[in-house]
Subunit: 314 residues, 2 copies
């Protein structure tokens, strides 16, 4: 069985991705209670809000859970203080240098995983002492790497290059894609989009419906000049894309984007004006379900297809 | 074992991709002799050149091989005439409607596979009567789909939606990525980039060296306004990309591209001015090897990792 289970104290090697405006204590505790690793996404939270979510999560489950912390955010320092004071068992860092906080977190007994989009950053994270890397491919929703390396190209390369465990993220939403990731050499998977539309996700119902309606080709990674982000092709996307195609400068693009777009799109459900961050795999997502059912169905399917592979390919 | 083997009369369910200026009779016959399906890429050949390659391939091997035929090319009709007259056992069609020639080819006893980048086109190909589809993801080299769907997102969806066999292409160059593809439900894989640098590939040595030198992030899918194409980031790429970013019109981009760029880059080895089409997985390719060694190593690794998966994930 996966090395992730022992190491993180979980039963199912599926990590629910930290996602702005989706993954508060409700989603995180539901996933952890069901045997996976639930993750509170701190990216959309002020420090006192994060502390409240951690406290509620600790009431809702006595199982391990994590906080996802984008290191470039202005509140990172205050977030870390709460994480340490409240003894959060696992921290997933992203979007920033892992060398800054890893030693401090590990010194306090936290497990630290770092999200990377390239082998180069995986090696840096390993050198910084993180316990595992989460390799996230081009197909993932939200903020993403500039290299556009897909999960299928990224994970085998990470497995070859680093000594620490590798978790696969981006494009994983069912047992088949989980089996693919394990076949690449990952020791577990991180699933975002499918949990973004879980019943316990704090996203607005209009956002969840937009995700369910998405077909192949309905997301795109844009804004490569400022912050590469994968989102649904809504009216805001169209304006940003047109500006990009017309060759506007980064500052003009930043101004057009403005602030608070992900809150507007994901939390308030504004189709026209919001930034609707979701992965390419949205096209395969059919239902709003409880987090436990999502976790169980991926894990059950994984075993069915693993057995079938062993039988069919003797 | 894979349904592809019986159906195509091969021993190893690995198809060598048809690649302009790389895959003539030498590469195709070497792959077929070694037990895979070798493919002559007709995209860079005039009809009489294709006929000569088919004839030489038939002398070099008595095993099944295929011709890859981009249907949008002006010579498609004449190509088909040679394919039928010379009794080529397998045809892989791409870049065009499979409804035009499939019945004719199948009527003459050819097996027909069609390359698709989306479920929508896979369903059309199935309706047109093709025997199998090759699902090609965003990470693949050369011409590519507009939806940017990655192999990991595409293949599980194709397997769910079509009844005919699905072959996975894009990002596959080793046993781990082959195992991933089979885990997704594919019944075989198509491998391009690694065969592009095979000893028997007719590509120029300077092109092969450029592929070996490629690191993560060194290819990009550009020219989405005219023909989405993945290529190495050489000086020609830089000019095309700058023009794109400056918002030039499709016609201006076409003019900047001009004609004969893939021949110049791949066959003549011109780093500055050529179009160097290759997949994202180039970053993982380390050596120029005989086609047989490539085939054997992928197939051997596939079995090693399959066994390890079965043992580690009981």
């Amino acid at each position: 069985m996966s090395c992730l289970n022992d190491f993180l104290g979980i039963k199912i090697p599926i990590i629910q991705a930290g996602m702005v405006w989706c993954s508060g204590w409700k989603l995180a505790s539901a996933v952890s209670e069901a045997g996976g690793l639930g993750v509170i996404g701190a990216g959309s939270m002020r420090p006192e809000v994060l502390a409240a979510h951690i406290a509620k999560c600790q009431v809702a489950t006595d199982k391990p859970f994590a906080v996802n912390l984008p290191l470039i955010y202005p509140h990172a320092e205050a977030h870390i203080a709460h994480i340490l004071a409240m003894r959060v068992p696992v921290v997933i860092t992203s979007a920033g240098s892992p060398s800054k906080y890893t030693a401090q977190l590990k010194g306090a007994g936290c497990k630290v995983l770092h999200v990377v989009a390239s082998s180069q950053f995986a090696l840096k994270a390993q050198a910084a002492g993180v316990d595992a890397v989460i390799g996230e491919g081009f197909e993932a929703g939200g903020h993403n790497g500039r290299e556009e390396t897909t999960t299928l190209c990224l994970i085998p390369e990470l497995v070859r290059q680093v000594r620490i465990p590798v978790v696969a993220a981006g494009g994983i939403a069912c047992g088949r894609s989980m089996l693919a990731a394990i076949g690449m050499g990952a020791c577990g998977v991180q699933v975002g989009s499918r949990f973004a539309v879980a019943e316990e996700s704090s996203a607005h119902n209009a956002f969840k419906q937009a995700v369910l309606n998405a077909k192949e080709g309905d997301t795109e990674l844009i804004m490569k000049l400022i912050t590469p982000t994968r989102m649904l092709k809504n009216p805001l996307y169209k304006r940003l894309k047109e500006a990009e195609m017309a060759g506007v400068a980064p500052d003009a693009l930043r101004e057009l984007l403005g602030r608070g777009r992900s809150r507007l799109g994901i939390f308030e459900g504004n189709w026209e004006e919001g930034e609707l961050e979701i992965g390419q795999v949205a096209a395969s997502i059919q239902r709003i379900e409880p987090a436990k059912d999502i976790l169980d169905s991926i894990w059950t399917e994984f075993h069915i297809y693993k057995k079938r592979l062993a039988e069919d390919w003797q």
